[in-house]
Symmetry: D3
Subunit: 160 residues, 6 copies
Amino acid sequence: MVDVGAKPKTERVAVATGLLRMLPATRERILAGKVEKGDVLAAARLAGIMAAKRTPDFIPLCHPIALSGVEVTLEPVKEGLSVRVTVRTVDRTGVEMEALTSACAAALTVYDMCKSVDRGMVLEAVQLEHKSGGRSGTWERESKKDGAKAPSSPRKRAKG
Amino acid sequence: MVDVGAKPKTERVAVATGLLRMLPATRERILAGKVEKGDVLAAARLAGIMAAKRTPDFIPLCHPIALSGVEVTLEPVKEGLSVRVTVRTVDRTGVEMEALTSACAAALTVYDMCKSVDRGMVLEAVQLEHKSGGRSGTWERESKKDGAKAPSSPRKRAKG
Amino acid sequence: MVDVGAKPKTERVAVATGLLRMLPATRERILAGKVEKGDVLAAARLAGIMAAKRTPDFIPLCHPIALSGVEVTLEPVKEGLSVRVTVRTVDRTGVEMEALTSACAAALTVYDMCKSVDRGMVLEAVQLEHKSGGRSGTWERESKKDGAKAPSSPRKRAKG
Amino acid sequence: MVDVGAKPKTERVAVATGLLRMLPATRERILAGKVEKGDVLAAARLAGIMAAKRTPDFIPLCHPIALSGVEVTLEPVKEGLSVRVTVRTVDRTGVEMEALTSACAAALTVYDMCKSVDRGMVLEAVQLEHKSGGRSGTWERESKKDGAKAPSSPRKRAKG
Amino acid sequence: MVDVGAKPKTERVAVATGLLRMLPATRERILAGKVEKGDVLAAARLAGIMAAKRTPDFIPLCHPIALSGVEVTLEPVKEGLSVRVTVRTVDRTGVEMEALTSACAAALTVYDMCKSVDRGMVLEAVQLEHKSGGRSGTWERESKKDGAKAPSSPRKRAKG
Amino acid sequence: MVDVGAKPKTERVAVATGLLRMLPATRERILAGKVEKGDVLAAARLAGIMAAKRTPDFIPLCHPIALSGVEVTLEPVKEGLSVRVTVRTVDRTGVEMEALTSACAAALTVYDMCKSVDRGMVLEAVQLEHKSGGRSGTWERESKKDGAKAPSSPRKRAKG
């Protein structure tokens, strides 16, 4: 785990997204609050928040970070549910891994609660959309709309 | 967390896969063992195994399960690295969530170790390929080759 | 941690309850879904379930147990919110501690989400109501309605 | 998890208390060091300290905080054992939840170690007594002596 | 993590020991209960028990196991304190790692509580003494008295 | 857990070492990469890093600390494998326990992966070599080469 002790503490933000593809009927059932196991969207949001906090337990080389904020939103899209996570800290290293881990946990929680009716759901396009703060500055994914199909490594827009 | 106490303990297997898209140069660097942070594939395999064990901490409604085996393999494909996880147990409930969570952790560990050179990597097609055991029997994804583009819910092939 | 290896695995149930006293306005705000931090009841239920699973991390001498089911309900009462947790397992030792820990976590999650408007809330009467299974048999609290004021150790009704 | 990144780091303290009601014989056995499972008070203190550190794992929306100190005391009272926890930090958010969670863990550890002789013990009056530091200033519970019977939300004494 | 699903559940025991060398004055202070941070032996025993339960989080390829019993004893010897841990389970795989991890945690807890007065303490001879149960049968360390100096791999005495 | 809130945050380093004695054949097998369970040295390094992060869960009175760096190296010596861990932070308390815990986890991971061929391995001489930063200044072990045999408490060399 590389030493970040010499880096200054700065405000850092990372945004990650993901898409859980599902049958239209599954999406409708979730939105109608008719899933037997409970409120899927509330559970997914909480799972995402808790996973962000536990990221250093999951990703071996991740530094433990005092997160200052985590926001998880899920919204219906044509193919299923889109997840978006924003993580903030004031620390010596970034929170990209926390945002990505949180997005996975939120989406997999939806999968878990609905798998008895739609085991074929697919988690796609888990990706960083934005990060700012720190020595490497700001990074933005170029074309947000079609992440999964885009070339995987858009040029970095220098903003930092 | 639904009561599974009345279910018998049976042998259960789940297989999940995922694809981490990356720049060709990133894949080459990983395969050549030239990533500064260490052996990426070894770290990803361990992260996947450890994540499988900790799934009930991550997925709120997941039962704690005594896993009997976890196997994580990563192999190079044209678009980057493909992850495949097989989880086994002899218990009252299935291990689909363990396999999916493990696949995410393995792939995100690769992301973490290489993000300084390729922040645009995308995790795609995290999906169940197979599960067997338990009351609901065997389930197979129909077309394994093109998971991400396939309709999300293939018909279940009755095998159980 | 006392050795329970010689005990047979039997079905075991424990029920615990607790009462979170609060201002009437706080209760109304929760029930109306107007707490800024999100759906309080959904969060408390999940927190209770997750805490049940993690009890051996919290209570030093608690055995790790494969819980087969956890049910957390919260309902409004005159003084605030009443929490009730039922935990089930098929194992060598009981789940009283899981039920009590879960009840505390669910109630404290409500406290956390509402503390900015009602810091004076009090968690009362966290107590076992029922346990069954195992060598010591069934135990029932005698007067459920007025737990907090009742003598702390009702006679055990032999049922086991 | 609300963003606290813009708040300054200030010294913060929270004090929580709770009462574990028990049979007089149980209290005597604990104080005499005659509980088979070991030194109950030492175990409860440690459990309280460890629980304070793990609060963000238990309470979903709690920020991870670098605690600077935790003190757990248990003392015999007429009705059983009284628990008092003081938690300190220098951070962007308060430690009320850490103090309350710690008080529950300490009391439940006593319950766990003595439950074979007194299953009817009741945890009462888990409540915040004091908190200071941060934007919302100091808060004191008005009547400390009779917490469990007091109206749940005493007026705040402005001190901050 | 190798698959153990086909192995039968059998009773298994592992015993591990370790020696924490320290200044005589440190040992006396511990035994006299004069260490400021609290009861060192009680804390070490609890830490050992809790660590045994968490071994699969610490040792990457360790299976999660439902421990049925853990016993940690510390006793004064000429060189300092000797730790001995016995772990039991009825499961498909052994508990050697749980016993060894527990011995380390117990000894390091002593170190932690006394390090301000004796930073030079050394943890020695952490080793398996005995294991039984399972396909590989019983194993005993040959010369228990002088573990640290003995050749590291005594012949296995066939007993299983 | 003693209050460290009044201490300033300073850069702190701790170095701990340990020696895992093993049969020569075991050491050769590890170095040749012929252990069935995978790359032993890579696994041990990761286990050491992850354990450092989780030290406050293992050592009851350890403060939670935001580690800024962890480095784990294993190298072959005549008797087996030598482990060396360096932990860094910028915080109010030291990281000696993190370094010692990490050294144990790394060594025990080697044990775990090779125990089927050499159950008699012994972990020796787990000890602090150096710590710097904080009020108590710098401490160095006097004779590094023969730690296990040296008197346990060398005089402190004032450097801080």
